[in-house]
Symmetry: C2
Subunit: 384 residues, 2 copies
């Protein structure tokens, strides 16, 4: 079932549509794109197929895959070097969050005189980039979670500062996205679960954000419903193409919705990811119920409305129970200690969370102490 | 409360923001825009204010307002002549559907070698236009209903063929939209009601469309909720700025959602509007319950889900009753005979409805006879 959508960017949805890559490159005037992905994906047939599709149509794509699961500034620098040496004229970003974020960051910074960190999402920093010099980006997600394919930012680890920095520019929104669910059927159950919960965390935090943005709110609501309907099946039957397709769309919806703002899950997941190099989606999944409880006083009416839409009894407790049941059903750990995170740095984590941009759109402006308490609860598995 | 959104296009929401018009013109490189609006608005202070704002900043805007409530091909031709004679470099489209649709149509066709009708939304007709020659468009809605400010099409009456033609091009989507609720507070209650029901019809038909487009579905759901919460207040207290703002946003959501497709309300409202020159929103409002009943067998599960979200008892009958009650509360006529439409041309109307592009995304592919029956019911006020 092939269908094209035109917001938030040009979207080509349908199984097998990755084979349209050469035509898309031509549409965007790319003749020598740099294909950016992670080392795991680089070794797979899907990557070879994309390169072959390009070659067949006279598009000379080269591969760059020297990136970490949480891509670093150093990774982006190496990518820029490859981009410039290969005289590339665009980026094909392929992957989960790693390949997509790295590809977008390489594209935005490659031809600039400013550094990558000059484009950190603070104030009007994005004006430091010359938009005319940002090459076209085509994004091909291989997981359903990050939604980076429809986002205007990349999360890149600043190693010197031991933090995850958000690099932002409006033109980091890919000009075209291919949503081809066949690329996601090989994802193991555990990663399907963690990335799917990432998509849920995006829609859920956007839904709870106090920012006025009804369009994002509607997208979030339906995105949450898709996760509820299809994530368990996608985890249990990886080859179920219907479930994979719906999760891929739910993921784009989460990322589109969160232009309304994220919240405490991400304010904590960012520093936890930077310090412990843990999987971002897994962190959000574990943190989710602890954050919901911490935000409860500010979000009960919205959560009741959401619960009604999800055909749950319309109260906060039943919604929370659904989250806990879903986590259990798809094999998400109950607390952070189960993934090796201890209480040693909770004070510091609280400070980092309160300084994270996502904290500013959490429905409650928690203090650093509050954040330390939330992460302590999440480590111990206590609901306070 | 000022806020900017970036989808489906750049949106500036906030009271008084119409005063940013000159800055926006400069951002889009416009120095001599043509301000297109209808004769009624042209006489109002708000239009004079826009021209004055431009002049103060060295933007030489000229006014064109020779358009009918349902703008015609002749109106667009006159506008193009004014555009070319004035050597304009962009369009400010101001108004309800008339000013917005006329402005967008003038912009898309002004510099082309093909005619306006060569851009009718049939097949790939839009490829007849040279996209480089379409000047920038800034849209300023003064009613909350059409949503044309976020649409990629205009409805223009083809007088020779006595039909409403849809003119489409992706670049008809305005580059910037100002949502300034203060411009809508002067709208009389009857027009507030009719245009608000137009917004509802967009979201409702999009919600019922069989096309796969979850993002549009979510936008439609929340758009319908906003109408339910705020339309009665907007009608009864025209100066209630909160209600006006929410309706203005609900209107953009309806039009964004209906990229998923419209249905039988519009398939009938288009020919009825062309033949009887009746108000488009009023036609949709009157037709709504008759079409819901005609589509019932195909839409019950969706309507139940929608009803739940709206805090109504979750069945079709209660939703239908809500529509009937809303119509009555805001003073919409119960049937088409009350606005002077009789049964003389129902056969022809059925044929025209089945040929209307909106018919193809109605949840049931009604025959011409079916459509004649629906319009007969709507004239008589019978639910069959």
């Amino acid at each position: 079932m092939n269908i094209n959508w035109n917001y938030p960017t040009a979207m080509r949805n349908g199984e097998g549509r990755v084979n349209e890559i050469a035509a898309i490159c031509k549409e965007f005037g790319m003749t020598t794109p740099l294909l950016v992905t992670d080392p795991g994906l680089a070794a797979l047939d899907m990557t070879k197929n994309i390169l072959a599709c390009c070659k067949k149509e006279g598009i000379h794509a080269a591969l760059f895959s020297d990136i970490k699961p949480n891509p670093t500034g150093t990774n982006v620098e190496s990518g820029i070097q490859a981009y410039l040496e290969g005289k590339h004229d665009g980026v094909i970003a392929l992957g989960g969050g790693s390949g997509l974020d790295a590809g977008k960051a390489i594209a935005v910074a490659a031809n600039q005189t400013c550094s990558l960190w000059d484009l950190e999402d603070v104030g009007d920093n994005w004006l430091n980039a010359d938009p005319e010099k940002i090459p076209p980006i085509v994004a091909i997600p291989t997981t359903a979670g990050t939604g980076s394919e429809v986002g205007r930012a990349s999360v890149i680890v600043n190693e010197a500062e031991e933090k995850k920095a958000i690099i932002f520019h409006p033109k980091m929104l890919p000009g075209c996205v291919i949503l081809d669910a066949e690329l996601t059927t090989g994802l193991p159950a555990s990663l399907t679960a963690a990335t799917g919960m990432d998509a849920l965390s995006h829609s859920l935090e956007a839904f709870c954000s106090p920012v006025y943005h009804p369009m994002a709110e509607g997208i979030a609501i339906e995105g949450i419903r898709l996760v509820k309907e299809y994530l368990p099946t996608a985890v249990k039957e990886g080859s179920n193409i219907e479930a994979r397709r719906q999760m891929l769309v739910a993921s784009t919806m989460g990322a589109t919705a969160f232009q309304r703002g994220l919240g405490a899950m991400h304010a904590l997941a960012h520093p936890l990811g930077a310090i412990y190099d843990a999987h971002h989606g897994m962190l959000n999944a574990i943190l989710m119920p602890y954050v919901l409880v911490a935000n409860r006083s500010a979000i009960e009416p919205q959560i009741e409305r959401l619960a009604r839409y999800l055909s749950l009894p319309s109260d906060f407790d039943h919604f929370l129970q659904w989250v806990l049941d879903l986590r259990e059903e798809i094999g998400i750990h109950e607390n952070l200690s189960m993934i090796g995170i201890n209480e040693e740095r909770v004070g510091e984590l609280g400070e980092m969370a309160v300084a994270d941009p996502s904290a500013s759109t959490n429905p409650i402006l928690h203090s650093a102490n509050d954040y330390s308490q939330i992460v302590t609860n999440a480590i111990r598995g206590e609901f306070g």
